[in-house]
Amino acid sequence: MQFRVFRYDPDKDDKPYMKDYEVELEPTDQMLLDALVRIKEQDDSLSLRRSCREGVCGSDAMNINGKNGLACTTKLSELKQPVELKPLPGLPVIRDLIVDMTQFFKQYHSIKPYLVNNDPPPEKERLQSPEEREELNGLYECILCACCSTSCPSFWWNPDKFVGPAGLLHAYRFLADTRDQAAAERLDNLEDPYRLFRCHSIMNCVDVCPKGLNPTEAIGKIKTMMVKRAV
């Protein structure tokens, strides 16, 4: 199987280039990550992040034939050859397929991704009704792989100011949590032309999310909450 892989080592290369690889696959090689491991056997100078190899850790997010996705959950049989692999767009490249996620996590931290509740902790746990818990489905599953944010043009143009789809999905995850007491502060923090309203609902995020989540819908719900408290 044929691959074209983005290569860049800032210590050696003046500029990035695409390198071609021909890989003999074994019958057990089903996913793109399996092929990448074969490429690495051929050429151990190739750098990439990987860990759980089953779509849980979000380490091996990359641009696959022009679309962001996880190498470990992308089936080789569904890919057009030569398979073009590039690092996630919009973030600085550290080396080859590895990008610097600092900006992405800065935005994630800016929405205070933890439960704020000043009541003394109960003996056992803070309870929710099944309906209240239901609201968190489709939100808590995000693995922070950054496929969505790095496919979002608004995040490309303003990564320092726009929270991005992943951060905003998490913001709504805590806004939707009935155990959280900081909804007003959270909305104040997001009511900003850059932090929230750079989202123009083009839904690239929904298109690429490897977990099938819908950040655009979550962003819409944040806006609805703001309208609710304003009108």
Partner: protein, 115 residues
């Protein structure tokens, strides 16, 4: 001045909402105008003029124009905010946009109420 990234202007909801409302106004006007114009008979200067001499048509058209101007303001400002990094240049472009749109609004009023 230190070059820090600052956010937290705390506006945007009103504009976002106004953009939606103005879109609905424009869509409804377009449908109503299309129906009235196409069912109105001979397409002549006189029928066009008599259509726009009616009070309700001027009222509706003014609402359409105002909606379009506000919609355009939010949309064009979004483009400047997305792509123009230099604050001074962005401010200049936003001011020019406002002045241009306000001028267009005045012109539209003059066209509508010219007997």
């Amino acid at each position: 001045m230190v070059n820090r990234t600052v956010v937290g202007a705390h506006y945007g909801l009103k504009d976002w909402l106004a953009q939606r409302v103005s879109a609905v106004v424009m869509a409804v006007y377009t449908i109503v105008f299309g129906v009235v114009w196409l069912s109105g008979g001979p397409f002549s200067y006189n029928s066009w003029k008599s259509l726009f001499s009616q009070g309700w048509m001027r009222f509706a058209t003014l609402l359409f124009v105002l909606s379009m101007l506000y919609h355009a303001w939010v949309g064009v400002r979004d483009i400047w905010m997305d792509y123009v990094k230099n604050t001074g240049l962005r401010l200049l472009l936003e001011v020019v946009t406002v002045l241009w749109l306000v001028g267009c609004g005045g012109w539209a009023v003059q066209v509508l109420w010219r007997s």
